[in-house]
């Protein structure tokens, strides 16, 4: 049975508004690059393709989030490897990262048993988050253009997330951003120049899965991630 729309943050108008604002950027990039091609005879088709893919990915993740919120039965948790999810996330983000000059690294040092989560939902959340951070990093002062997909153990469970050397990723930034989402066109002003839709889509997909997007540290890096629980069945085996 579908949930009441009022209970589902993913269905909120502010998220839709945020996604609509965010989509203007790739559409603008495509329009201007195509116009440049017409003017100068040299449009970069690779940029146009990557940019269209960014827009499609944002829409796909938003639609997936809405579906998950409406049909929780699709959220059946399964035993999945967090390393393989991070690897696949990296694969999906690779082209985007290259087009923004961001170096993407995978850090899954250590042995992590399977975790219990809905694979499709978790991956969509991490990809959405990663795409938003890749686009945001080059606009920040002084941050290195490196993003790490990483996992580590904490006392709460296994944390999977994306990390950079930017100090702007704080609990306060995230808390204020969530509060400002309705009122500001740039709610995460210390992190990104956009509406931050990718981050809020990730936030709401995770909420639909009863997980939380939270700030986290990984060695000396700052990031956003979620805490996952180990799969008890596999542990018994």
């Amino acid at each position: 049975m579908a949930r009441d729309a009022r209970e589902s943050p993913i269905l909120s108008q502010q998220l839709l508004l945020s996604v609509a604002e965010e989509l203007k950027l790739p559409l603008l990039q495509i329009a201007r690059e195509a116009e440049r091609g017409a003017l100068n005879g040299s449009a970069d088709l690779g940029v146009i393709r990557t940019t269209a893919d960014s827009a499609l990915r944002l829409l796909d993740n938003y639609v997936l989030g809405v579906r998950l919120a409406l049909e929780p039965a699709q959220l059946a948790p399964e035993s999945v490897s967090v390393a393989s999810i991070l690897y696949d996330t990296g694969q999906q983000l690779d082209t985007l990262a290259k087009s923004y000059g961001v170096s993407l690294e995978l850090n899954v040092a250590g042995r992590f048993g399977p975790i219990l989560a809905n694979r499709q939902g978790l991956q969509a959340a991490l990809v959405s988050l990663g795409a938003a951070l890749i686009e945001a990093l080059p606009a920040q002062d002084g941050s290195q253009l490196k993003l790490q997909l990483a996992t580590h153990r904490s006392r709460y469970g296994i944390v999977a997330g994306l990390y950079a050397d930017t100090r702007q990723l704080t609990n306060e930034t995230l808390r204020r951003g969530r509060a400002l989402q309705r009122h500001s066109r740039q709610p995460l002003i210390s992190m990104t120049h956009t509406s931050g839709a990718g981050i809020f889509v990730a936030d709401t997909i995770l909420q639909a899965m009863h997980l939380n997007l939270r700030t986290s540290r990984h060695h000396r890096l700052y990031g956003l991630g979620t805490v996952l629980q180990p799969s008890p069945q596999i542990q018994l085996v």
Partner: protein, 128 residues
């Protein structure tokens, strides 16, 4: 040919604008933030600034106040080209124009490269 400082936070968009301006014969320095824009202005002495208002940490308006506080840069023409619709600035247009010396306000989603190039042409000094 003019020396243009392009303050544009999106790297891909900055690249497209820079290439179009360069093809029109201008020299372009593209920077993503208000802080780097001040440093770049000091280094390149721009003839014109193209500015997005939605920047990370410090907004384009903060940049404008800082930029105009230096005597050397008070006469440099500034074109705002922003994702922020001009209707949101209609009450403050007088302030932007009179106090901060903004020459034009272009709404980015509705501004073609051709229009931007025409505006740049209009506001850049002719060098002999």
């Amino acid at each position: 040919m003019a020396e243009i400082l392009l303050v544009e936070p999106d790297r891909r968009l900055a690249s497209t604008y820079a290439k179009a301006l360069q093809a029109a014969g201008h020299h372009v320095t593209a920077v993503p933030s208000a802080q780097t824009a001040i440093m770049a202005a000091d280094a390149v002495l721009p003839d014109l600034v193209i500015l997005e208002l939605q920047l990370v940490e410090h907004s384009g308006i903060e940049f404008l106040y800082e930029f105009r506080s230096y005597p050397d840069w008070q006469a440099v023409p500034i074109i705002i080209q922003s994702q922020v619709p001009p209707a949101e600035f209609s009450d403050n247009w007088q302030l932007l124009q009179d106090e901060l010396g903004v020459q034009a306000y272009l709404y980015k989603p509705r501004t073609s490269l051709r229009r931007l190039l025409a505006q740049v042409q209009e506001f850049t000094p002719v060098k002999t």
